[in-house]
Symmetry: C2
Subunit: 336 residues, 2 copies
């Protein structure tokens, strides 16, 4: 018989196939790269094809918007939201709307078109992560923005429209529903137990061990007990921290190592495969003091299954491989 | 500039590209059918390959589980949840779980493998819809089940694993999160205004007209103001009704006509394309009396875009074609 599991944060249920777990080779998934050589606006020499760079790490004596960079942040040429203007909310009968104010930036992670996140060195990835923090801190200064969302789509089936390695940053003029729910859920738990639910999760996972993939001094990677997707992975700082962008610079290499590690492991198990990752952090606020009940984390979602009517209608997910089984495959896969 | 729109029921925001709407020909979508002739357990003559039929509409003097049927309902051979046993909820540290009790049935809509929903006649579709109601009423008698979800996946990219036309019915031992949220949202509106939000939506749509696709005496089809997906369509009974399964039999042909109409229109605009539809109804309860604040409806979601990291992280959706533009394409497409 399958097992129903309830997410203690959001109250979502999932159906876990504990009886006949699907093995990695049972999943059909699309190749993340087309192999087509198309002219790429993110490659060396094509810097003029993107909006002007906002910030970059580049060789001394190279000019902005020219080659010689290692990481480059630009505005999205086709932004979902636009940065100019005042936010104007209004009603229309029973509906509510607002103009599309926000910011939409792209972090080009490397000049090398064919590399993926996991092909970069820990030092290179540390620079990328440092840019995530810097851009967040800068965007948070704009009082119109209430939430800064950092996410990566790798592969067409995960929603990527360009193959060159990149991450997106969107600044939103309101805290989105899913984030609010997570924060409220964690807050309810804190009110009841006076402990952070994520810290409790870390304690329980370290004790039970069976869902852990890897860890180091500052970070832990595990398959969550209430995964929505098969082989879903969460990465969490071991120390209670609410804001991603407040991660001390000296801890970023540990995060880089874990991210590189889990993506490499996923590729050992599945071959090159599409994925998304999303950084869940507390919303921007004026003083940035730690929030007792919320703990930032990164959710890594390999794109192995398709979301169907049942999931859209219920918010229930059907997980063909239990996280305990998935974690074992990933734990056993070598990193180098 | 794009427009941010807020769903008045769940509080979800979407970003609508009102500036440069994507036209139907700009979407790349997968063909819903492989064209491969594989042996099909839902075809005439293969009745023994499914679990025994629960109910069927069949020619006089034909035996159950043999050819001669027009619509056939069977248990799912690979059920997500199993019907035998007592529901046992328990804790595991901070987590909650339960054994996987429920029911999972399949309505085989026609003996013809290559037909789609919209290829059936209004009379044939009325029988299919009538079976939805009958199975719901029967499953609701089981006090372990708190919610009966009816949904259809058409095409592999919409999650269908078999090509033969079929609908799925899942009985769940708890009201799922998405349903709870919708009911609570509608209830809050009712508390504040003493009116059903869905009835208000119908009034506003009938007045503004620009999002309406088609209607008849009993049902209305429109593109919702806060669509999550491009060309999303909602079908609603014009008269306030909380429970789908309480639709009077004589109104089912009107619903069949609307469903057949919208799917035909979607195919005129896009060619054969994958889709999901889901019936949203009030949860099972003991007396079945109408609930003032909730109004059942059907959500039809063509599979034209891919859900990416931004959507998974925020619950925000980016809608490349505004519903007003989508509705015009669909309104103008002929039904016959």
């Amino acid at each position: 018989m399958s097992e129903l599991r309830r997410d203690p944060i959001g109250g979502r249920w999932v159906i876990v196939n504990t009886d006949e777990p699907m093995a990695p080779q049972d999943y059909e998934h699309d190749a993340p790269r087309s192999g087509k050589a198309t002219p790429c606006p993110f490659c060396y020499g094509n810097e003029a094809q993107t909006p002007p760079e906002i910030i970059a790490q580049r060789d001394a004596a190279t000019a902005p918007n020219s080659p010689g960079w290692q990481v480059r942040v630009v505005a999205n040429k086709f932004p979902a939201l636009q940065i100019e203007g005042m936010l104007e909310r209004r009603g229309l009968g029973i509906y509510d709307l607002s103009n599309g104010i926000g910011a939409h930036e792209v972090v080009i992670e490397t000049p090398y078109h064919d590399k993926d996140f996991s092909d970069l060195t820990v030092t290179e990835l540390t620079s990328v992560l440092h840019f995530y923090c810097q851009r967040t801190l800068d965007l948070e200064k704009d009082r119109r923005f209430k939430y800064i969302m950092i996410f990566k789509n790798y592969g067409a089936s995960a929603g990527a429209s360009l193959e060159h390695p990149h991450t997106q940053i969107i600044a939103l003029p309101m805290v989105p529903k899913s984030v609010k729910e997570e924060i409220l859920g964690a807050h309810s738990y804190f009110e009841y137990r006076e402990r952070c639910i994520f810290c409790d999760m870390i304690r329980q996972e370290l004790q039970e061990k069976e869902r852990i993939i890897m860890d180091n001094r500052n970070f832990l990677a595990f398959c969550p007990f209430v995964s929505r997707f098969p082989f879903e992975i969460w990465v969490m700082p071991k120390k209670h921290t609410s804001y991603f962008c407040q991660t001390p610079y000296e801890e970023l290499p540990d995060l880089a190592e874990i991210l590189r590690g889990i993506i490499t492991k996923v590729k050992r198990v599945f071959g090159d495969t599409a994925y998304n990752f999303i950084i869940h952090t507390a919303p921007s606020n004026s003083d940035g003091a730690n929030i007792e009940s919320y703990h930032w984390h990164l959710e890594f979602l390999p794109k192995l299954t398709r979301v169907a009517g049942f999931e859209w209608g219920t918010g229930f997910y059907i997980v063909p491989t239990p996280p305990e089984v998935a974690a074992k495959y990933l734990r056993d896969a070598p990193v180098e």
